[in-house]
């Protein structure tokens, strides 16, 4: 996905997140109900890239109701960065103060500091300064409110993202690549939920729990799905059966059995174990890592080709969601163990930058001869090796 979002998108996404927070009573209802968002002030990174917008919120009576910081760059990992219900953000007033501060700092010098551009810069996120530029070059950078000159970048050796107390640094440049990638994936997932949900055509320029309430029968603050008889949600109840593994090492056989059962291909676990080369009840064995793909082959073979199965490596949360929404269970390999996934849940609420809970509904064949249904397994605390999807081949 693109790293940067357009202003219009930022306003829309920010409005959506604020509406959800307001509805869930995280924000002070008296101040926020009926409030609207104004055009945001762009705040830049030290490296010149746009980081986020600070968006003033005006209450229904016209009074200030604080501001919200909404990401314009996916490096943050989540759209809503902060909400400050008590604070006042008046861009013009702050620019005026900054100009006066610049004059005061250079009073007595022979020439004033020329500038032809002013921008707000997160010189040490989340700390913000006002930067003055002349012909594209920085002429001065004054920290908001203290109006102290922000020192130039230090050449001192230090760890990335661990700046000194009053030091300018680039959030985008210093963030490690793997963390940036993870954040961008999370951001994309969040956007997908917000854009794909029933709130898609909801007017987000006004914050209103009342208007949200009128749509409450179709809006869920969590996105939760479990396997049913079909993709028509009105059909029957949850439709999936747990199979305990019949030996301490037949988790793969039991998982394969659960999926085949779902598609009405009934085999004993012993028969499935034979197919997978997992020995017998008297002399059972597990599946070596080198033969992981045998599971996909077995699903296809034992359904006489009706199931097209695919092995995936470390799939993201979204893959599980996609399969469950299509009403298809998955086999999930974690280190040393196999189980199946029959549902997911994800909180759509994002509170001050922290992503809500993501969970999987796991039908776990462990312990032997019993199994458990895990509702929910915290996705963010588990390592996932492989997943196996299977879909019915249709004409």
């Amino acid at each position: 996905m693109e790293e940067q979002l357009k202003h219009s998108d930022v306003l829309r996404i920010g409005g959506l997140e604020l509406n959800l927070l307001n509805y869930s009573r995280v924000l002070p209802r008296a101040e926020f109900e009926g409030a609207h968002l104004e055009a945001g002030t762009p705040i830049f990174d030290v490296n010149g890239e746009l980081l986020f917008y600070r968006i003033p919120i005006i209450g229904a009576t016209g009074s200030h109701a604080g501001y919200a910081d909404v990401a314009a760059h996916t490096v943050f990992g989540a759209p809503l960065l902060a909400v400050a219900p008590e604070a006042v953000w008046n861009e013009q007033s702050l620019v005026g103060e900054a100009r006066e501060a610049l004059i005061r700092r250079h009073r007595g010098s022979k020439a004033s500091v020329p500038y032809d551009e002013i921008r707000f810069v997160a010189y040490s996120y989340p700390k913000v300064a006002v930067a003055f530029f002349y012909k594209g070059k920085e002429a001065s950078m004054l920290e908001l409110k203290s109006w102290m000159e922000v020192p130039p970048s230090s050449l001192k050796e230090r760890k990335p993202m661990e700046p000194g107390n009053f030091e300018r640094w680039s959030l985008i440049d210093e963030m490690p690549q793997d963390r940036k990638r993870e954040n961008q994936e999370r951001f994309a997932e969040r956007l997908e939920h917000l854009r794909g949900s029933e709130l898609r055509d909801f007017d987000t320029s006004i914050i209103s729990a009342t208007r949200l309430t009128s749509r409450i029968t179709v809006i869920r603050l969590t996105d939760t799905e479990e396997l049913h008889y079909s993709t028509r949600q009105a059909d029957h109840h949850t439709c999936y059966e747990l199979r305990g593994q019949e030996t301490s090492v037949w988790c793969v056989a039991a998982s394969t059995q659960m999926v085949l059962d779902f598609y009405r291909y009934e085999y004993t676990q012993s028969r499935i174990a034979t197919q997978l080369g997992l020995g017998t009840l008297q002399n059972p064995t597990g599946l070596p890592y080198a033969r992981d793909n045998d599971v996909a082959v077995a699903l296809n073979t034992m359904s006489s080709g009706a199931l097209t199965a695919t092995m995936l490596t470390t799939p993201p949360f979204g893959t599980y969601c996609d399969e469950i929404r299509a009403n298809r269970p998955l086999i999930s390999f974690i280190p040393g163990h196999s189980r199946t996934v029959a549902g997911y849940t994800e909180s759509l609420l994002l509170i001050l930058g922290r992503i809500g809970f993501r969970g999987l509904l796991v039908y776990d064949p462990w312990p032997p001869n019993s199994g458990v249904i895990t509702r929910w397994e915290n996705f963010d605390t588990q390592t996932y090796r492989r997943a196996f999807t299977a879909h019915v081949t249709t004409i």
């Binding site: 747990l242 593994q245 030996t247 301490s248 090492v249 037949w250 988790c251 793969v252 997992l278 020995g279 002399n283 059972p284 064995t285 597990g286 599946l287 070596p288 890592y289 080198a290 992981d292 390999f333 974690i334 280190p335 040393g336 163990h337 196999s338 189980r339 796991v362 776990d364 462990w366 312990p367 032997p368 001869n369 019993s370 458990v372 249904i373 895990t374 509702r375 929910w376 397994e377 915290n378 605390t381 588990q382």
Partner: protein, 166 residues
């Protein structure tokens, strides 16, 4: 035995989650939150906590928490109110003396056992009790117990499920 602070805290967290409905057991609203059991890693350090939920003598669910009290999973044995008999006996999972008895049944009466610890087989979701069994010749072997299942630890890592059991 006096509870330590961590154990007491994780039990309080579990109790709170149960009382406010964050943890639910279909047909098992009568469940009682029990004493937390420490899950050890192979070096003997604390890996996580398991807090059991029981109805009478039956184990109907357990919640597993990290040492920072983050809920890792909530796993349910009870599927329907009328199927309490299909749930494991709580003692099988919560009473180390029962665990010892199961190993002795398989390993023979002349062996010596270390104190069983609750740990996991490869993945933290595969909870097992482990004990080291020393026979009369002096050789020792780690054994696992999961409910009524008892087997020797084959010690092979890159196998999904593990290797041959007894």
């Amino acid at each position: 035995m006096k509870k330590d602070d961590q154990q007491a805290h994780v039990e309080r967290v579990a109790q709170e989650l149960w009382e406010r409905g964050s943890l639910q057991i279909p047909g098992g609203s009568d469940a009682v939150v029990g004493s937390a059991v420490a899950v050890r890693d192979w070096s003997g350090g604390l890996h996580s906590w398991v807090v059991p939920l029981t109805i009478g003598a039956k184990l109907v669910a357990w919640a597993q928490f990290s040492p920072q009290y983050t809920l890792q999973r909530f796993s349910i044995f009870l599927r329907r109110e009328t199927e309490l008999n299909r749930c494991p006996n709580a003692a099988d999972w919560l009473d180390p003396s029962v665990v010892e008895g199961r190993v002795r049944e398989k390993a023979g009466p002349d062996v010596r056992l270390s104190t069983p610890i609750l740990t996991f087989d490869r993945d933290p979701s595969r909870l097992v009790w482990a004990t080291v069994v020393r026979d009369t010749s002096g050789s020792s072997q780690r054994w696992f117990v999961a409910g009524e299942s008892v087997w020797q630890d084959p010690g092979i890592d890159e196998v999904t499920g593990g290797s041959a059991s007894l």
